[in-house]
């Protein structure tokens, strides 16, 4: 899977990891129950042994990040636009509030503060230029004004 696919398929990867950890927890709990533990106590012990599932999911996803994605990850995770794009059906509130705002120009400032410092520099040349070109127009590329 390329870094670009990983970026967009994060939600799917999260769901799969959650399913995998659920299976792990249930297997461990069943084994403890078979050894004579109380079911509730078995669940508690299995959860303790695994640690926080959220942390395990986060560590697993980070372990597959390329160096470029590892730099971008905190910014991308906080980006409402990416959250919507990854899975719009699971984020109805965000879709109704955040998605229309770029149309009104309201989202441009947070979008650029998110993307400008690192994003274009981590991409190959034509892709690095595209966001600037698309949003700021040709005048931005006059000599002396190019920000890279």
């Amino acid at each position: 899977m390329t870094w670009w696919q990983r970026l967009w398929r994060r939600r799917k990867m999260e769901d799969q990891l959650e399913k995998e950890l659920r299976f792990h927890l249930d297997q461990h709990a069943s084994e403890l129950i078979a050894r004579g533990h109380d079911p509730q106590e078995a669940q508690r012990q299995a959860r303790l042994a695994l640690g926080g599932p959220e942390q395990v999911i986060s560590d697993s996803l980070r372990s597959t990040d390329t160096p470029q994605l590892a730099i971008l990850r905190p910014r991308l995770d906080a980006s409402p636009i990416l959250t919507i794009c990854r899975n719009p059906t699971k984020e109805p509130f965000m879709v109704s509030t955040v998605a229309p705002s770029p149309l009104l120009g309201l989202e441009l400032v947070p979008l650029y503060t998110t993307l400008f410092p690192t994003f274009p520099n981590t991409l190959p040349f034509p892709f690095a230029v595209l966001p600037y070109y698309h949003f700021l127009g040709r005048s931005f590329f006059l000599p002396g004004t190019f920000p890279l």
Binding site: H24, Q27, Q55, T64
Partner: protein, 114 residues
């Protein structure tokens, strides 16, 4: 009861590859087998197991498919890729060299202490 031992960095990957080399297996079974085979000495921190599995999958050493277990539940089964088959041999050879070297140093220091 055997004393437990912490795994050194990089060791877990090698051990996982060795277990998966025996046949397709899910994460929980990998942890169980490692503990059984090492007679309880190697206890894989479960929180480290899944990041390691996904790292190995991402490096192309493991491939995974969702399959049904005996209990009828779906689990993610890992198997070695062609690339993953050669990697453990190289790392195991490097481990054996290191063990031998450490053994020599320990022997030397024991000899000088007597």
């Amino acid at each position: 009861m055997q004393e437990k031992s912490d795994l050194r960095q990089g060791t877990l990957d090698l051990l996982i590859l060795k277990v998966v080399a025996l046949g397709p297996v899910h994460g929980y079974a990998i942890a169980q087998r490692l503990e059984q085979v090492s007679r309880g000495v190697v206890q894989v921190p479960q929180g480290s197991l899944y990041p390691a599995l996904h790292r190995l999958e991402n490096r192309g050493l493991l491939a995974a498919d969702w399959e049904e277990t005996e209990s009828g539940r779906e689990a993610k089964f890992y198997r070695l890729t062609r690339k993953g088959r050669t990697q453990p041999e190289t790392e195991a050879a490097s481990w054996r060299r290191l063990i031998e070297a450490v053994g020599l140093v320990l022997k030397m220091s024991e000899g000088s202490a007597e």
